[in-house]
C-alpha cells in the first residue's frame, strides 16, 4: 500500500530504471551463447534438436523465430545472429551473394514435405480429389512462403476450379484457418499436422514429384567454434532422426557433403 502513495516522479523514475535494466540485459549475454535465427515453421523441431544438443554441450542456444523474409531483412541490417536457418534456399542464396555469410556454409539442412489437410473430405485423398473441392482453400502466401509456392504448383496441375483461394502469412496460419473451421481445406507442412494427428483419410502427403523441392537452407553468419559445432550437429544422425519424426526429409547424402 505504501508504494502506491509514492510521488509519481519517483515511481516513473523506478519504471525508467527497470526498463533500462531490461534493455541492457542482452549486452550481458555471455559470449558462449549461440544466437540462432530460425524460420518459424522449423522452430518446434529446432527446440528438440537443441534439447538433444544440450545434453552434450555446456553452451547456451538462443532461438529467434520469425518469418524468413523478416529475419533476412534483420540480418541485412546487422542483426547479431550467428546462424540462420531459413525456410527456403532463396534468402540464404541472397545473403551469400551479398557476402554476408561464412563462405561455403550455405547448405540444405531439411527438405520440407507438403501435405493437404481437408477435414471434411470423403474417401482417400489424392491430387485428383481437389477437383471436387468446393469452398475455401487456404495456402501460405506463394510470394513469401516456399510451402505456398509448392502448393500453388500442385493446385494448378490438379484441375481444381471451384474454390476460393485465400492466403496466410505462413503454414501455421493456414493450419489455424483450417483448424478453426474457416477454411475447408489447405496445404500445410507435414511437420505441422504430425502433432495434431488428424484422421487418416483427411490428409494427404503430397507426392514429392508434384512440386519443386522445399529445400530449407542454413548459413553461418558469424563464424565461431560454437557455430561450426552446431552446424555439424544439425547434420548428424540424432538430428536426422528428429527431422524424420517431425515430417521432414533428410537432405542429400549422409556424409556431411549435403547437396544443394
Amino acid at each position: 500500500m505504501k508504494q502506491t502513495r509514492q510521488p509519481p516522479v519517483r515511481r516513473s523514475l523506478g519504471l525508467v530504471l527497470l526498463l533500462t535494466s531490461l534493455l541492457t540485459v542482452p549486452l550481458t549475454l555471455k559470449s558462449d551463447t549461440l544466437q540462432i535465427a530460425v524460420a518459424a515453421n522449423f522452430r518446434p523441431t529446432l527446440l528438440r534438436v537443441i534439447t538433444a544438443l544440450e545434453r552434450q554441450s555446456p553452451h547456451r542456444y538462443k532461438i529467434i523465430a520469425g518469418s524468413t523474409g523478416t529475419l533476412y531483412a534483420q540480418i541485412v541490417n546487422g542483426a547479431p545472429y550467428d546462424v540462420f536457418l531459413a525456410a527456403d534456399d532463396a534468402r540464404p542464396r541472397l545473403l551469400e551473394e551479398a557476402r554476408l555469410i561464412e563462405p561455403g556454409s550455405r547448405r540444405t539442412y531439411a527438405v520440407g514435405q507438403l501435405a493437404l489437410w481437408w477435414p471434411g473430405s470423403k474417401g482417400a485423398l489424392s491430387r485428383d480429389s481437389l477437383v471436387n473441392l468446393r469452398g475455401t482453400l487456404a495456402i501460405a502466401n506463394p510470394d513469401i512462403a516456399p510451402y505456398g509456392r509448392a502448393a500453388m504448383e500442385v493446385i494448378s496441375s490438379s484441375g481444381a476450379h471451384d474454390y476460393r483461394l485465400i492466403t496466410g502469412v505462413n503454414v501455421a496460419q493456414v493450419y489455424h484457418f483450417i483448424a478453426s473451421g474457416n477454411a475447408n481445406a489447405g496445404f500445410v507442412a507435414l511437420s505441422l499436422i504430425r502433432d495434431a494427428a488428424p484422421a487418416n483419410n483427411t490428409f494427404w502427403v503430397v507426392d514429392q514429384n508434384l512440386y519443386s523441392a522445399i529445400e530449407q537452407q542454413s548459413v553461418i553468419l558469424k563464424s565461431s567454434q560454437l557455430a561450426t559445432d552446431f552446424d555439424r550437429f544439425l547434420r548428424n544422425e540424432t538430428t536426422w532422426k528428429l527431422l524424420a519424426k517431425d515430417g521432414y526429409h533428410v537432405p542429400g547424402n549422409p556424409a556431411g557433403g549435403v547437396s544443394e
Binding site: T70, A73, G181, N182
Partner: protein, 230 residues
Amino acid sequence: MIDPDLISVGITLKLATITTLVLFVLATPLTWWIARTTHISRYLLEPIVALPIVLPPTVLGFYLLLLFSPNNEFGQLWATIFGRPLAFSFEALVIGSVIYSLPFYVQPLQVAFENVRQELLDAAATLGAGPIDRFITIVCPLSRRGFIVAATLAFAHTVGEFGIVLMIGGNIPDETRVLSIALFDHVETLQYQRAHLLAAGLLTFSFITLFLVYFSNRTRQSPPFRRGIE
C-alpha cells in the same frame, strides 16, 4: 491494368469510410449513453470500449476468427443468410475494424458530450423539446468538434490497421488486401522500393491527419474542449 497497390489503397479507403459511417450510426448513441448515464454499468462498459487500445490486435483477430467460423452459431447464421462464410471477406474486415477503432471514436466524442451543459438541455426540455430534438439541435452543434476528431481518428486508425486484417482477411487481392498488408508483402518479398512508397505514403497521411486534429484543437477553443461551468 491497375497497379495492385492502387487497388489496395482503394480497399483501405473504402474500409475506413464504411467503418467510420458504421461507428457514427452505432457508436454515437452508445457514447451519449456512456457520457450521460449514472448507471453503474457504465463502469463496466467504459473499460470494454477501451479494450482494443490495450489488447494486441492478434487477440481480437484470434477470437474473431473463432466467431466467424461456420462451426459456431454466429458464423453459421451469417453463412445461411448471406450465402457465403464471413471469414476472409470485406464484411469481416468491417466488423473487425469497427471493434478495433471503437475507442478512437467513442473517447473524443465522450469528452465533447460530457461538456454539454445540463442546464441547456433542461431549458430546452421546459420549452417542450423532446430528447431527440434536444440531441440534434443542442448536443450535436455543441459537439461538432468532438465529432470531427472522433471520425478523423477512427478513419485514420482503420487505415493503419494491420494485425486483425492479417488474421481474418486472407489476403485476397481485390477484396481484403489492404494497404498495410500490401506493405507487409513487399517487405517480405524484398521489394523494398515499393514498400518505401507505401510506407512513406502512410506516414505522410498519418502525420497530416494528426496535424490537422491538433491544429484545429489549438486554434479554436470551442465549447467541447472548455469546461462547461466555471
